[in-house]
């Protein structure tokens, strides 16, 4: 097996403003390294996906970003603030959504958000407008007076996202927000995250559902056993890996051809050749699993 190229140091363009910067982050519990020498740079306005099997160190990294966990070594900056030295400043600029959303038994949806508006010291006069806007954004306006514990899982996830947005943070850190959601709720969540990116938020997200990350992430980082294996846009990682791409071509009349190409340029050349040959191409699709395929090629199955 040939060695993979070093994909863990994707270049960041000069002058790019960083929302999150992680340098040499290490977190260990006794002899166990949860994260080892991790380096990440998340540009402002990006949707950055953190991918890895269970135990890869994604949640640990998020806890450090959210100023809940002190790193063993390394330096972290969130919107320019150090979570260890100035956790309060980080909390004012970061919205964190943990992988499991707990609920209070006897609060309504609007009261739940009011509580967190108070917890973020927002002026009370701003609460009604803020809560209206947030409920509208996460499509829960019709559930305003519903008790939180009676919401479906998808609704709770959306409410949790609204909670993370209550103080209008610059950076959103979302740990497995799509976990346990049905397909429809996942699509809604994805649309919501794209909407947030369009609003100028930086989103750092982890998920097991790689197809979704592929569609919305501008960059991804692949972790395994606490180590960063690859970072960059899904396409650039694929290109660096130099793996073959499967292309499915359907011709008029129903004939289907399967081709294999090595890069995006070869893919373009194939299409040009088929058209030049006068073949009636009606569909030209890359059929590799994309991010999922990359993930399987990059990781070695060290942790599960």
């Amino acid at each position: 097996m040939t060695a993979l190229p070093d994909l863990s140091a994707a270049p960041v363009g000069e002058g790019v403003e960083l929302a999150v910067q992680v340098e040499g982050l290490t977190k260990r519990y006794g002899d166990l390294f949860a994260v080892r020498d991790l380096a990440l740079s998340v540009p402002r306005g990006a949707i950055f996906g953190l991918i890895g099997p269970n135990g890869a160190g994604k949640s640990t990294t998020f806890l450090v970003l959210a100023s809940l966990l002190a790193p063993t070594a390394g330096r972290v900056r969130v919107a320019g603030h150090d979570p260890v030295e100035n956790p309060r400043a980080v909390r004012a600029t970061l919205g964190y959504m943990p992988d499991v959303m707990g609920v209070y038994d006897n609060l309504r949806v609007d009261e739940y958000l009011e509580f967190f508006a108070g917890a973020y010291r927002l002026p009370r006069s701003s609460w009604p407008g803020l809560i209206d806007g947030l409920l509208e954004l996460v499509d829960l306006a019709g559930k305003r007076r519903t008790m939180v514990d009676s919401l479906s899982r998808g609704m709770k996830q959306r409410l949790s996202l609204a909670r993370a947005l209550v103080h209008d943070p610059e950076v959103l850190v979302l740990d497995e927000p799509a976990s346990g959601l049905d397909p429809r709720a996942r699509v809604e969540l994805r649309e919501l995250l794209v909407q947030l990116r369009d609003m100028g938020k930086t989103v750092v997200i982890s998920s097991h559902i790689l197809a979704e990350l592929e569609e919305m992430c501008t960059e991804v980082a692949i972790l395994e056993a606490g180590r960063l294996l690859a970072v960059g846009s899904p396409r650039s990682i694929g290109d660096q890996l130099g793996g073959a791409r499967a292309v499915r071509v359907r011709l008029a009349g129903g004939e289907v051809q399967e081709h294999t190409v090595g890069s995006e340029e070869e893919q373009q050349a194939l299409l040009a050749r088929l058209v030049a040959e006068g073949l009636p191409v009606v569909e030209f699709t890359e059929t590799s699993n994309g991010l999922e395929d990359l993930f399987l090629r990059v990781t070695k199955g060290v942790v599960q």
Binding site: Y29, A34, T60, L63, V64, A66, S67, L68, L69, A70, P83, V84, P87, R88, R91, A92, L94, Y96, P98, V100, M101, G102, V103, Y104, D105, N106, L107, E111, F115, F116, G118, A119, Y120, R121, R124, S160, R163, H167
Partner: protein, 355 residues
């Protein structure tokens, strides 16, 4: 809800809202009042039918009954607070962990101190609600007499202070334990130690010490029942000197607080007699020892101890009342427990946050 232009602690507002919406609160308040009403009925029936041993006037008998009802209610209020507060507070932090709601709180702009202060105030507010709910029952003793507004204020303050101390301890337990069950066991264990364990240690000292010295009462300063007995107490056996006596559950505690050499007739030296002329010289045996009174040059009589020292103007303790010492000791312990909980909730921490 706002307080002097500042929003109310959001944790307090939420806790109160949540607590008042649960059926459990209704049940607890109902059972609490039912138990106290039953006790009131039993004491009232028992005492109002009893023969007056001293031939006191109706007003004195009524006052004695009023005083007994008040002190009995106060005693059982404390007992019920000891049952209710640890159980209601021990889930403050561990419950948030279990419900997975602690992390969103910790990443907000609320400091650990604000979070815990909200929890603590919520518990104390519930004790306050219980006290308010008891006022109609306490009002019966007012009608009968023998209880002043000051007595009531001291009693209510003692119950609230006990609730505050127990809530702080339960908060500390809740921050230490990973599960609410463990926090409950720890909180009730500590409460049991304060309420009974301290008295048992004092008793054991008394039994085991064969030097003849009086046991050290320091351990009793940890006991909120003794502190309340002292703060709300007055001489309760004094039929000889024309004072009314009561049958209060606090009486045995007060008896223990007064040094043996200051007791006589099973009762107490009245405040005005400490170091002052007594109305008549007479020997008074106490537990085999003799307390003598002798004539001074000016014709007055002074209370003296067997070794010739006059009875001191205050209980042993350098002039600081027992209840005040108890407030300091219990306040320190409560503060330490609160501080411990604050430290346990501080982030970023070295261990992964759970919940």
């Amino acid at each position: 809800m706002r307080l002097r232009g500042r929003p109310l602690n959001p944790v307090l507002a939420r806790e109160v809202k949540e607590r008042m919406r649960t059926r459990r609160t209704t049940i607890v308040v109902t059972v609490y009042l039912a138990v106290l009403a039953l006790i009131l009925q039993v004491v009232y029936s028992g005492m109002s039918g009893a023969q007056d041993a001293f031939g006191d006037s109706l007003a004195t008998q009524s006052a004695r009954l009023g005083r007994s009802l008040f002190e009995t209610l106060l005693f059982f209020m404390l007992v019920l607070v000891c049952f209710i507060v640890p159980g209601g507070t021990a889930d403050a932090v561990s419950g948030e962990r279990e419900r997975q709601t602690l992390v969103p709180l910790q990443v907000s702009l609320l400091s650990p101190r604000s979070i815990l202060a909200g929890k603590l105030l919520s518990s104390v507010a519930f004790v306050f609600l219980l006290v308010l709910a008891t006022l109609p029952l306490l009002g019966v003793s007012f009608v009968l007499g023998g209880v002043s507004v000051g007595d009531l204020a001291r009693g209510v303050a003692a119950v609230l202070a006990t609730g505050l101390v127990l809530a702080c301890l339960a908060l500390g337990c809740s921050s230490l334990a990973r599960r609410t069950q463990g926090a409950m066991i720890l909180a009730y264990g500590l409460t049991l130690f304060l309420a009974l364990g301290t008295a048992m240690i004092y008793g054991a000292q008394h039994v085991l010490d064969d030097t003849g010295r009086r046991p050290n009462k320091a351990v009793l300063t940890l006991n909120p029942f003794f502190a309340t007995a002292d703060a709300t107490g007055r001489a309760t056996f004094d039929g000889f000197f024309g004072r009314f006596s009561t049958s209060s559950p606090f009486d045995p505690l007060r008896l223990l607080l007064v040094p043996e050499d200051q007791r006589f007739f099973g009762g107490f030296v009245e405040e005005e007699f400490r170091g002052q002329p007594m109305p008549m010289p007479m020997p008074m045996p106490v537990d085999g020892e003799a307390v003598e009174f002798f004539e001074e040059g000016d014709g007055g009589a002074f209370g003296v101890l067997p070794d010739g020292r006059p009875i001191p103007p205050e209980d042993a303790g350098g002039g600081i009342p027992f209840w005040a010492r108890s407030v300091v000791v219990l306040g320190w312990i409560a503060g330490a427990a609160f501080l411990l909980a604050t430290r346990r909730l501080r982030t970023p921490s070295d261990r992964a946050a759970v919940g």
